[in-house]
Symmetry: C2
Subunit: 193 residues, 2 copies
DNA sequence: GTCTATAGACCGATAGAC
DNA sequence: GTCTATCGGTCTATAGAC
């Protein structure tokens, strides 16, 4: 049976489209979305601009597909966590899943999801909001207070911002993973007061 | 006597230049640096592009001045904290200073300082590195471990990312300030294990 | 200090050959 | 699926009048 829950079945990208998406994500992480042109994407793939346009009809479609691909990875992690037998293990699983996601392309789950060109429109994206809600349940249980919502947003910002910051870019993957795990646990801990 | 320490005396911007900087910061926060053109900045100021070029000779100069202005505000906060009589009060002062900075233009100390178009070059900026080092001393004392450096970067990312995220943009200033203070204390707390 | 006018490069996007 | 060639528009930047 197919997974319901999120009302969106984005067409799976073809292999050629996936190559465009990967190149785009790399360049977005480096120059921002507004600072990345189709020319640059084409150059990264060593083809011409027209060849890229054969895969996607507009730049916006590429941006959308790039965001979707990251959201799909996030959704996979959420689903894996939700299938854990206990809430405790589910919580541990999603934390580890988020850290792994953050270690991805250019050590950023979402230079895309953090770009001002994106956040505005995607904060109204139904699938995105649904994912954040499921994240919240996994991480904070039924505590749906304002504080707990803020904490989720902070967690994502802290993981991404730390992993992608050039001042700690030199840290090896194992160290970074360990640090991100610490950060996640700390941000999610109940304040001591 | 003048303050040594940071080896940079950026020329104070004129009033006209400051207006350009403010407009630029607003637009950068909304569209990213790469997504902001001189046309947009000129339109925001209701003048022509040539008038903007009369204040700054290149777009890079505008970006640089915008970053410098944010760094100067950060430096002011650091200096105020450093002049506190006890380390405990200095620590409290810089935390509050960082939160106030974050509540600034477009609720972001640094859509600028977080933009991929910037971080790369400014992570080699001497003044920037010096500021981070002073921040580290204020917040973690003489603990100059790898973990403590990571923690500073995380703190900045968490504050900025949270304050500027559209999903919590509706929170009123007092609530946001309170949340940011909690976040700061939590990120800086020693892990419980 | 602001304007108009303009230069040359680059932008996103399309047509059509192979 | 990739190319060349081209469109109209916008980009950064400059020259020169007021």
């Amino acid at each position: 049976m197919s997974t319901p829950g999120v009302a969106r079945q984005p067409v799976e990208p073809t292999a050629a489209q996936q190559r465009v998406i990967t190149a785009a994500l790399t360049l977005f992480a480096e120059h921002g979305i507004g600072g990345t042109s189709l020319r640059m994407i084409a150059a990264e793939l060593k083809v011409t601009v027209a060849a890229v346009y054969h895969q996607f009809h507009t730049k916006d479609e590429i941006i959308f597909a790039a965001v979707e691909s990251q959201l799909r990875r996030l959704e996979d992690a959420v689903e894996r966590a939700e299938s854990e037998p206990t809430t405790r293990r589910a919580r541990q699983a999603i934390i580890e899943g988020l850290v792994e996601l953050t270690m991805g392309v250019g050590r950023s789950m979402s230079s895309v999801l953090n770009d001002p060109a994106i956040t505005g429109s995607f904060s109204r994206h139904a699938g995105y909001r649904d994912l954040l809600r499921r994240l919240q349940i996994l991480l904070m249980g039924e505590d749906s207070s304002k504080e707990s919502r803020v904490r989720i947003v902070t967690l994502l910002a802290a993981l991404n911002g730390t992993a992608s910051h050039p001042l700690v870019a030199h840290l090896d993957d194992d160290t970074m993973r360990r640090e991100l795990l610490n950060i996640a646990n700390q941000v999610l801990a109940r304040p001591r007061r």
